[in-house]
């Protein structure tokens, strides 16, 4: 039971992912020149970035073919990152607003 079982990623996937990444980069830059109303400009940019991130993680880092636990580790880190941001924003965005029950 040794290492030749490791999945060798097909060349076409690697090149395809790279191409996809370049295209998405061009799209990202392009989108920044288009007037998109606020929050949506940021959302578009982030959606594109997440698309790119998924490509890197899934193909380059081989998560598609890998043990599920590794994917879970990555997702967990994101979950906690979002918790950190989300809960902090509950403070910083609502500082000058008293809680609705008050008054």
């Amino acid at each position: 039971m040794s290492s030749h079982e490791h999945h060798v990623i097909d060349l076409k996937y690697l090149l395809g992912a790279a191409a996809g990444l370049i295209i998405l980069t061009i799209l990202t830059v392009g989108a920044s020149y288009v007037e998109i109303p606020r929050p949506f400009d940021l959302l578009t940019a982030m959606a594109l970035a997440f698309g790119k991130a998924t490509l890197v993680a899934a193909v380059f880092m081989g998560l598609i073919w890998d043990k599920k636990i590794n994917t879970m580790a990555l997702l967990f880190s994101l979950l906690f990152f979002f918790l950190m941001i989300g809960i902090t924003l509950l403070d910083t965005l609502f500082r000058d607003r008293p809680f609705w029950i008050y008054n």
Binding site: P98, F99, I101, Y102, N103
Partner: protein
């Protein structure tokens, strides 16, 4: 009996929301005590009853009991919901000053409190308030974070640099109550205390007027300087009798040869004193830390008054 215990372990009840806080405090204590007692009794009882008799005692296999598990999930769950709701309700009161509250501006400095009343009167470390009327404090810090705490009122709020925070209270009657700083702020943190004097509203109005008149009087420079010495909190760090408190004493300071921490030395003439007050970090006297706040917001006249006062301390 609970009441007696409370009086022993809690400060006096002197504001409108203190009683509610104490009520929740008691509730949690009693509930906890009951559960704790249950646990302790069980432990002791089991240890005695099921004491090991021999090395090959056989014990039953009990892995799980849904009813029990549910019981000790649900009862605590109910208790915490009560505690949350109660604390939350109390907190609403604490965070919503009535709109007719009397407003006082508070400035926290290392290590003294300045109170500014609507008519411009200022006091240091002494807060006068009309008894029985809601008072709202609008607070800001001039340097690091401090925290305004009056145990008798159950009021506490951090005071931040660069931003206002507020607190409010309404006393139940006249009285004197101690103020503590409860956010660690350096050498003088434990000395950063003060007093709230709740006095009858009429008395308060009279006091306010009197202070206003006093402040408008033409005073000799040195006397004005002495007032500022008290008001601006210099007294917290600089003594007049030669003792070192946090900073060097003012006694004999004028025209003295001062040794700097960097080895240089300077004569404490008027220029030096002005600089030391406005920008104390420029020249650090040896043996001391660079902790004195700058007073560049004082007017030229005020600085001169202080200098005149320092000159008198020979």
């Amino acid at each position: 009996m609970l009441e007696t215990i409370n009086r022993l372990i809690l400060p006096q009840v002197s504001s409108t929301f203190a009683a509610d806080v104490d009520g929740l405090f008691t509730f949690i204590n009693v509930a906890s005590a009951i559960i704790l007692l249950g646990i302790t009794v069980a432990i002791i009882y089991f240890s005695v009853k099921y004491k090991r008799k021999s090395e090959d005692d056989v014990t039953p296999v009990i892995r799980y009991n849904t009813t029990l598990e549910l019981t000790w999930t649900i009862i605590p769950l109910i208790l915490i919901l009560i505690v949350f709701a109660w604390g939350f309700r109390g907190h609403i009161d604490m965070r919503t000053p009535p709109s007719n509250a009397y407003e006082v501006y508070v400035t926290a400095n290392s290590f003294f409190w300045q109170f500014t009343y609507p008519n411009g009167v200022q006091t240091t470390d002494e807060l006068y308030v009309p008894a029985g009327r809601p008072v709202k404090l609008i607070m800001q810090s001039r340097d690091v974070i401090h925290s305004f705490f009056v145990p008798d009122f159950r009021v506490k709020q951090d005071v931040l640099p660069g931003r206002y925070t507020t607190a409010w209270f309404q006393t139940l009657g006249t009285g004197e109550h101690v103020i503590f700083c409860t956010e660690y702020c350096g050498s003088g943190h434990s000395d950063m205390d003060g007093m709230v004097y709740a006095i009858e509203p009429e008395e308060f109005d009279a006091w306010l007027r009197e202070q206003k008149e006093l402040s408008e009087q033409e005073l000799p420079l040195a006397v004005l300087g002495q007032n500022l010495y008290q008001q601006q909190g210099c007294a917290g760090c600089h003594s007049l009798d030669g003792n070192v408190v946090i900073g060097p004493s003012f006694q004999g300071l004028y025209m003295d040869e001062r040794q700097g921490a960097d080895g240089s030395s300077r004569v404490a003439d008027e220029d030096y004193l002005r600089e030391s007050i406005n920008n104390p970090g420029e020249f650090i006297t040896s043996g001391f830390n660079n902790i004195m706040p700058g007073y560049s917001y004082l007017s030229e006249d005020q600085v001169s008054a202080i200098i005149e006062f320092i000159k008198e301390q020979q």
